[in-house]
Structures are given as structure tokens and as C-alpha cells.
């Protein structure tokens, strides 16, 4: 499990796992309007694929901060571009607010479109 450094102080370093960040992103995704489920995320490694839910991939950014890939299922009939834009802004805001990490990039992948239930 990849660990990402949050802080370095005189007393030591503080790390957060990419799994913890993924969970924060997932909780935020659940409340995003238009998102009715999480996708599979083809680029996600096997370790992630074993988890109960796997719509979020977190990787350290080459410059600073982290990059997120969000694989989602959107409700049928909605404007996909508009929903994707609000998903991007909501999830990156929430992850930055909770972790203090900079979210350098968010890729939103719409895996499927379907009615709820």
C-alpha cells in the first residue's frame, strides 16, 4: 500500500495511505449528484481490485500532491460533461480539505450510464 507524506516535523513524518485517501474520495463520490455507482477502473492494480469498492485510484503526482482517477457510473439522461465537472470539483475540494494535500489532477472516467437501482 502506497503511503503519501503529509507532513515532516522535528518529531517525525506523518504519512497517509492511498487507501485512506481513496476512502475519503469514495465518500464524497457517494454524495455527488448524478453518480449512481462506482466503476471498475481498468488501470487499477490487483491490490485495489480485491477491495469491496474500487472506483478510485490515487497516485503521487510527479510534481507535488496527488492525482486521482475516479471511475463512476452516471444516472441515465443527465448531461455527462456537467456531472463530470461537478464530480471533479467536489471530490478534489473534499480530499484537499480533509488531507491538506494538493490534488494536482483529477481524471473522471464514466464507465457506465444507468438508472438507479
Amino acid at each position: 500500500m502506497e503511503a503519501i507524506q503529509l507532513q515532516e516535523t522535528a518529531l517525525g513524518q506523518l504519512f497517509v495511505s492511498s487507501r485512506a485517501i481513496a476512502q475519503i474520495a469514495e465518500r464524497s463520490l457517494d454524495e455527488c449528484y448524478g453518480v449512481v455507482g462506482l466503476g471498475r477502473g481498468a488501470r487499477i492494480r490487483r491490490a485495489f481490485a480485491l477491495r469491496r469498492r474500487h472506483g478510485v485510484e490515487v497516485i503521487p503526482s510527479e510534481q507535488s500532491g496527488i492525482e486521482l482517477t475516479l471511475a463512476v457510473v452516471i444516472a441515465y439522461g443527465l448531461n455527462l460533461a456537467e456531472v463530470a465537472a461537478t464530480v471533479r470539483s467536489r471530490v478534489s475540494y473534499e480530499v484537499e480539505r480533509v488531507t491538506g494535500l494538493e490534488v494536482a489532477r483529477v481524471e473522471v472516467r464514466i464507465d457506465d450510464v444507468r438508472s438507479r437501482g
Binding site: S28, L29, D30, E31, C32, Y33, G34, V35, V36, G37, A75, G77, L78, N79, E82, V83, T86, S89, R90, Y93, E94, S115, R116
Partner: protein
Amino acid sequence: MMSDLEVDSVRASSELALVRRLALAALEALERERQRIDGLNIYPVPDGDTGMNLVLTVRALVEELDASEPVEQAVFRRDFARALLMRARGTSGVILSQIVRGAVEAAPVSGPIDGRALATMLERSRDAAYSAVAKPAEGTILTLMRELADEARGRRRKTLPLDEHLDALVERGEAALERTREQSPTLNEAGVVDAGAAGLLVCLLAIARAVTGAPVVTPAPALRLVSS
């Protein structure tokens, strides 16, 4: 004597004119309150654009109506709902377009809108709005929509003029908007009501006034405490 097609065309053109008048009233009210609504927008992302998104969404709606020909009613309703969804802006705009789509789809094919029809329309609006979210947060435009549908359902057997039903809905909406302050920890901390819910209430108020012909009071009562 008019053929069925002509009757349908007259019906469609009067429906178009009515929807257009109500949409225009909502647009004008949103334009007046835009800054106040933007100022409330601290959740889920404090980007202060809820009012603008609602204005752009309803403006697109009015433009669609201006461009619409009075076609067969079913065709009009289908095209209108589709255009509305495609041109919605922001989360609050997308939700508002679902609300309008539900109401238009459930509106009676002919005859006046009575308490029962109003309840059917608002329940369909609520269901359309809730159908596109996995875990709805409380204290949002969705909560307000649900309370409006509950109110309409509770009153559906009362034979009252439409404007009295609408007045009761506005009253319930104002109380529900006030409660959003307590329903969300984020709103509670900031001491504000929800921006999207406020926008929906502004629309409802404008529509109620347009139906009764009463002048619109500005700012809307529920927004009086909010500085612009």
C-alpha cells in the same frame, strides 16, 4: 368543429405559453436574487456560483421555450425535458432541470391543475430529483423538494383554488429552507441556509406570484437575512 389535431395544437400552444410565462417569472426572480444565492453557496464546494448556475439553467429553459413551436403535446414535453437536461449548469441546475422534467411529465394532459394534480407533479419532481444520487445529503435543494412534495400530498384532497395550494407550499418551503441551517453541519457552522434550496424557493415563489398575479416581493422573505 375542430379536429383532434387542432384541439391538440391549441392545447399545446396554451401549455407552451403558460410554461413560458412561469419560466420567465422564475428567471426574473433568480436574476434579482442571484448575488444573495451566490453568497450562500458554501456547500459542498464554496465556489459561490449556485445563483449564476440557476440563472443560466433557467435562461436556457426560456430560450428553448422561445424557440419551440406549438407541436403535439407529447413531442413538446419530450423535447423540452431533453433540452433542459442538456443545458443545465452546475449541480443545482441539473437538479432543478430534473425537478422541472418531473413536473412537466406528470402535468395533466388536459384540464386544470388542482390539488391532486399538483401533488402528482411534485411527487414526480421529487422522484426524478432523487433518482440520480446514491446517498443524498440532508439540508439541500433535495430536502426542500421532498418537503414540498409531502406538503402537496397532504393537501391533495382539499378542493381549494390553486393559488391557495401554492401559498401553502411557499409557507412550507420557507420553513423547510430555514431548517436546512440545522440539517447540515457545514451550513450550521457558517450559519447560512442552503443556496440551492434558496434558489428553488425563489422559483416557487415567483411561479406562485405569476399564477395569482400578485407582485413579487424582493428580497424573497426567506432571503431577507442574507446580505447581498
